[in-house]
Amino acid sequence: MAIETKHEIFPKNPKKSYGLVELVRGTSPITDKEPETTVFTWPNLLFIELIAILLSSVILIGLSMYSGAPLEEMASPDTTPNPMKAPWYFLGLQELLVFFDPWLAGVVLPTFIIVGLILVPYIDINPKGVGEYNYTNRKFAVWNFAFGLGLWYIMIIVGVYMRGLDWQWYWPWDDWEAHKPPSGVSLIDYSVILTQWGLSKAAAQGIAYGTLIGYFVIGMTIPFIFFRKFYNALGFVRYNLTMFLFLTQMGVPIKIVLRLVFNIKYLLVTPFFKI
């Protein structure tokens, strides 16, 4: 036979709140902020969501009525379309193929972009600018991000609007139906240019290696010497990750300029890969 223990139950006093009370760390109570700055999700947030959904649906249905998804001829391995363009969001990568080997343009650089993005919250340790559009306190971060994003968008715009037959440069006013004569420019490897200046092959290859390694070494060293605060704030690991990603990002437009202005095909040629 179980023995029932009797608990004494006090009647509920309607004048008392019976709320949970907790001690928290802090210098002042936040009575001014919570909960007065909050509102009920229904209807305040849900109706905004509903309006956003309705508006975007209207826009999408309008677009679908006005302009349809393209469908070309049936797939055929025998005829290659010219130019062959990927969907617009991949045209940045396809544009990179003009300037880099496929393993760099298609695999390594996208991997760096993704890894770099993943690392962003771990290498950006500036505590300022959370929850607000803040430029003054995080200039380097904002500029760096804007540069990468801008580069990406420029490549896409070039790929969509400036590339025609044979992936040649076509201005909007050019005749897009006609083939352009192949450019008279021939691209030369950097080390070959050096041998033309009278250097031996080995020396030229050495300088090619030195240029690329030097770019990273000098790039890594300059902030270390002149902006020691930057280095100290980040610490060894974060500094090296940040600077490696930053220099690689800058290397992309540098290589593009080298090719466009100096007709340099590859900066470095090894038996295994070319950069």
Binding site: W42, G68, A69, E72, E73, M74, M84, P121, P127
Partner: protein, 256 residues
């Protein structure tokens, strides 16, 4: 007359069936507004109350929510398309033609799927830009940014795998270009740096795995179909759940 409807409503609302489904009245009182968030499985990812600052359009631009809506829209229109589409190189192209010209609302579904996909890619980028500019990835939200980047990658992969399905010229050659790039991967690709040294041949490297062969053909179409309709959406759903759960747990990043 008004009394009649009032009585009818009360009769319905007080039945056992109704009460078993809805555990609260219409959310016009504070209690019911809280209960609707607690007891509705679709709404419970929201908090009961939100900060006023989180509602400012000029802070979020609704970008994350709209991206998720595109995902829903693509799932729904995609299921419609699956009723008619067979991933067979002999019929795939004709299925798309049927959708375009013969099936009621087939063209609308296809166009919505296409525009929704473009919109989703664009919205993911804009959302990421907004999160960066407002520093919303800073502690304690670092890992949710990582999940977000993975969702960006999944969005792009979903677009790429969907690209092959119409089996038109664009599809074939876009995937050919993409798989050529994969072939050039260092170490795991046949023609990439250190590929041959690692024992990669044309019939065992990453491109072969992707295509299910050495050329874009029937096995490629089936692989991409399964990835596009089942594999990647499941993965994306998993990461979306984590993404939303983290937002809920970490709180919204707006200023107090």
């Amino acid at each position: 007359m008004a009394d009649f409807f009032e009585n009818l409503k009360n009769k319905i609302v007080e039945t056992q069936v109704w009460k078993s489904i809805f555990r609260h009245g219409y959310p016009d009182t504070d209690t019911n507004r809280a209960l609707v968030m607690f007891t509705n499985v679709l709404l419970h990812l929201h908090p009961v109350k939100v900060r006023k600052s989180a509602l400012r359009i000029r802070y979020t631009w609704c970008l994350g929510g709209l991206t998720f809506f595109m995902f829903i829209l693509l799932t729904i229109t995609g299921v419609f398309l699956m009723f008619y589409y067979v991933p067979d190189t002999r019929s795939a192209y004709q299925n798309i033609k049927d959708l375009q010209y013969a099936i009621y609302f087939g063209n609308l579904m296809r166009n919505l799927h296409r525009w929704g996909a473009h919109a989703m890619v664009f919205l993911v980028w804009l959302h990421m830009t907004r999160v960066f500019l407002t520093g919303a990835y800073k502690p304690p939200r670092e890992f949710n940014w990582v999940v977000g980047v993975l969702l960006l990658v999944l969005t792009l992969l979903l677009s790429w795998t969907g690209y092959l399905l119409p089996w038109d010229q664009l599809a074939l050659w876009a995937v050919t270009v993409g798989s050529k790039m994969a072939e050039a991967s260092p170490v795991i690709g046949y023609s990439g740096p250190f590929g041959k040294e690692m024992g990669m041949r044309v019939d065992n490297d990453i491109r072969f795995m992707l295509l299910g062969g050495t050329v874009v053909g029937q096995s490629t179409l089936l692989r991409f179909y399964v990835l596009h309709c089942v594999g990647l959406p499941l993965l994306a759903t998993l990461f979306l759940v984590v993404h939303f759960w983290r937002i809920r747990k970490d709180g919204f990043s707006g200023p107090l």
